[in-house]
């Protein structure tokens, strides 16, 4: 089976667009966070694929992806903590309802 680069990039693009769509349309903060992760992972796939197909001799793309995954994990933990705290104060995690700090 001969897979070319598009076989990887098109699913990544679909993933990314799903992430964008979810980010814009969802009301729940957790869902927005998941959409964000989806976009991030799409980008990670792109990194790996471009490294694999364009520069087969080097490994930088792989390493960057590993770093990005690590940072995404930390960021998710942080975001979850914020969301939990918002929930404690507002009893709600709907982004359209959380307007207390708006002028």
């Amino acid at each position: 089976m001969n897979l070319n680069i598009l076989c990887y990039l098109i699913p990544a693009l679909i993933m990314f667009c799903c992430g964008v769509y979810g980010f814009i349309t969802r009301k729940n903060m957790i869902a927005i966070l998941i959409s964000l992760e989806l976009m991030l992972n799409a980008v990670d796939i792109n990194f790996v694929v471009f490294n694999r197909f364009l520069f087969p001799g080097s490994m930088e793309g792989m390493f960057f992806t590993l770093f990005a995954i690590a940072i995404a994990a930390a960021e998710t933990a942080l975001a979850i903590a914020i969301i939990v705290n918002i929930f404690r104060v507002a009893k709600n995690i709907d982004v359209r309802e959380i307007t207390k700090m708006k002028f």
Partner: protein, 676 residues
């Protein structure tokens, strides 16, 4: 010569001002009053000593003997600079000194100021209390201001240069303002003090411009440079010299060939502007409107400031610069005309006033105008410059008898609690001391022999007669009016009808000794001061000269005065309908006199209708609508714009993402199209 005494004369009142002003609230009123009075007593003694020394010690610094016109020996009074340190140095020879000049008129003024000030200080101890002996609120402040005034006035008369005079001139204006507004809870007093300050400040603007013009063209400030020449062999001594004035002016003005401005020489302009300052301070028409209102202040203050000392500062100013005025007789003619009109006007108004202090105020204006006229008609060729001597003589006698009349009025007001003669009528039996001293004051001002006013007024009329027969008749008419209104006042206060006593326990009575002693002292001075041969002390060029009484003039003025008093007695001695009938017969004249010829209304019209209405209002409109409007427009446009676009800053991240996404896609599309 040691200057300690002269320094003390200025330093003690200043120190008392600081002491009573700063620490007054820690002192009891009684202590403050005694302290102020004692200090002024010491200053009086020092001033008497200085004046006595100056006139009688025969010190070569003070007088010398010269050969007169006809080969006789004449004693000449000199000008001695006691001290004169530089106070402000600008550059080169342009500097301002604060000094002490002793000459015949300043020595005479020292005596007048300290005497009246001491009497007023003493008098106020009793006057500024009610009948139960409770001191008025602010008693210490009152004494502090009196001390400030004494300091300023003494500094004014001993000034060595015109700038020092200006500084102290403003200081007396400030202390006058403070004392008129002493009862600061009364709106009338507050507005009167503001009126006095604003009117005199306006006049002082002219004074300042005059000083600047004069010193710009001549390059000097000092009186010695204008009017005097150094005496050989003595460093600090000068003698009055008309030649100096003419040489200074000739050399200083030679380069620019006596610059002219609007048809008059610059010097005339300078002198007229300086005289404008004097008009403000001395309440000459048309700047007289502040003086009658200044009577809102405590009565002893009126006696000290607004009758005897400060208001004659204008006369003193002209006398001080007299050699310069002699160079430009146009300015002196203006002085004469202003003085003559004011004298007549004020005498007319005084005939119709009800408030006794107002009558005395207008009488003061009229008498100061007499002094001004006397200076204006003085020429060296007329009988050895009799006008100058007469003016200073009248200043001296007037200060004494007018202070006496004011202090008497104060005693009356204190007794009946009203300023109007309608509340007084028939007081002669209740207040004998006040009655007799007031009568002496009235006789003195009316010009009855042998009281002091007779002699000085006679010299003034002689001077007027030498100058022009028209001025003589005019001023004699004013003298007749003076005798009439003073005796109208006297009869209405002390005669007219029996006094109605409302409460037998509180019948009007003579006041305690601090108030009667000054009255008796000043009355005695008014009895004897006329016999002083004033020419021995003050003449226009400092040389002693004996002025003989002109019995023709004296006889005429005496007759006129006696007739006026008789008319006043006929009209006002016993209650009768004659005064009302006369007022009804001449309603227009009575109304105009009663309302002071509507000068206040005229000023109100000019300031409110013309200046405020036609000038200030359009300017205010321009400021509010054009200038403010432009600025407001900037602010409003910015504000509106911000409000309309603030919706973009929604705080909703998803909206931002939408916008970002659309923007990025657009940008990508455009880039793509461009690249193809």
């Amino acid at each position: 010569m040691d200057a300690t005494i002269q320094i003390l004369i200025l330093a003690i009142p200043l120190f008392m001002f600081l002491l009573l002003g700063l620490l007054g609230k820690y002192l009891s009123p009684k202590i403050a009053g005694i302290l102020g009075t004692t200090a002024m007593g010491v200053v009086t003694a020092l001033a008497y000593y200085t004046a006595f020394n100056y006139f009688f010690s025969g010190d070569p610094n003070f007088q010398r003997e010269i050969i007169g016109e006809h080969g006789e020996t004449v004693v000449e009074h000199l000008q001695y600079i006691v001290f004169n340190p530089v106070w402000l140095e600008f550059y080169g020879n342009l500097h301002i000194n604060i000094g002490f000049m002793l000459d015949s008129i300043s020595a005479m003024m020292l005596v007048v100021i300290t005497t009246i000030s001491f009497m007023v200080n003493l008098y106020s101890n009793a006057y500024m209390r009610d009948h139960d002996g409770v001191y008025e609120k602010g008693f210490q402040r009152y004494y502090a201001f009196l001390a400030l005034f004494s300091f300023s006035m003494l500094g004014l008369v001993v000034a060595t240069n015109i700038f020092q005079m200006y500084i102290f001139w403003e200081l007396v204006g400030a202390s006058s303002y403070l004392l008129i507004g002493f009862y600061y809870t009364s709106p009338a007093a507050v507005s009167a003090s503001k009126k006095a300050f604003i009117v005199t400040r306006f006049a002082d603007l002219g004074f300042l411009i005059g000083i600047l013009v004069l010193s710009y063209y001549t390059g000097v400030f000092s009186f010695m440079d204008f009017t005097s020449a150094p005496v050989e062999g003595l460093a600090d001594t000068y003698h009055i010299s008309l030649d100096t004035a003419s040489t200074v002016l000739a050399t200083k003005f030679a380069g620019s060939a006596a610059p002219m401005f609007m048809g008059c020489s610059v010097l005339t302009w300078a002198l007229v502007l300086i005289f404008m300052g004097g008009m403000g301070k001395s309440a000459m028409l048309p700047l007289h409107i502040w003086l009658p209102d200044a009577m809102e202040g405590p009565t002893p203050v009126s006696a000290l400031i607004h009758a005897a000392t400060m208001v004659v500062a204008g006369v003193y100013l002209v006398a001080r610069l007299f050699p310069l005025y002699l160079q430009e007789t146009t300015a002196l003619e203006i002085v004469t005309v202003v003085g003559a009109i004011t004298a007549f006007y004020a005498a007319m108004v005084a005939c119709a006033q009800v408030d006794i202090k107002r009558v005395l105020a207008f009488s003061t204006i009229s008498q100061i105008a007499f002094m001004m006229v006397s200076l204006g008609v003085c020429r060296p060729e007329y009988h050895h410059g009799v006008g100058y001597m007469a003016s200073m003589f009248h200043l001296f006698t007037h200060a004494m008898f007018k202070a006496l009349l004011f202090l008497g009025a104060g005693a009356l007001i204190h007794a009946v609690h009203s300023n109007n003669y309608t509340a007084m009528h028939g007081l002669r039996k209740y207040m004998p001391v006040t009655h007799w001293t007031f009568l002496i004051g009235c006789l003195a001002i009316a010009g009855i022999i042998p009281f002091s006013g007779f002699f000085s007024k006679d010299e003034i009329l002689t001077a007027c007669g030498e100058y022009s027969i028209f001025v003589y008749i005019w001023m004699s008419a004013v003298a007749a009016l003076t005798a009439f209104y003073m005796f109208r006042l006297y009869f209405l206060i002390f005669w007219w009808k029996e006094h109605k006593v409302h409460d037998p326990h509180h019948a009007p009575h003579d006041q305690p000794w601090p108030m009667t002693v000054p009255l008796i002292f000043l009355a005695l001075v008014s009895c004897v001061a006329g016999f002083i041969n004033f020419g021995d002390f003050v003449t226009y060029n400092g040389e002693q000269h004996t002025f003989d009484l002109d019995w023709t003039v004296a006889g005429i003025s005496l007759t006129v005065a006696v007739v006026s008093i008789a008319v006043a007695a006929k009209m006002y001695m016993k209650e009768n309908p004659l005064p009302d009938k006369m007022a009804a017969a001449l309603p227009r004249l009575w109304d105009w006199c009663y309302h002071r010829f509507y000068w206040d209304e005229l000023y109100m019209f000019i300031t409110h209708r013309i200046i405020f209405g036609l000038i200030c209002k359009p300017i205010a409109w321009f400021d509010r609508h054009i200038i403010d409007g432009t600025m407001d427009a900037f602010a409003t446009v910015t504000n509106k714009a911000s409000w309309s676009i603030k919706g973009l800053q929604s705080g909703n991240v998803q909206t931002y993402v939408w916008i970002y996404l659309i923007g990025a896609l657009l940008l990508g599309t455009i880039t793509y199209i461009c690249l193809i």
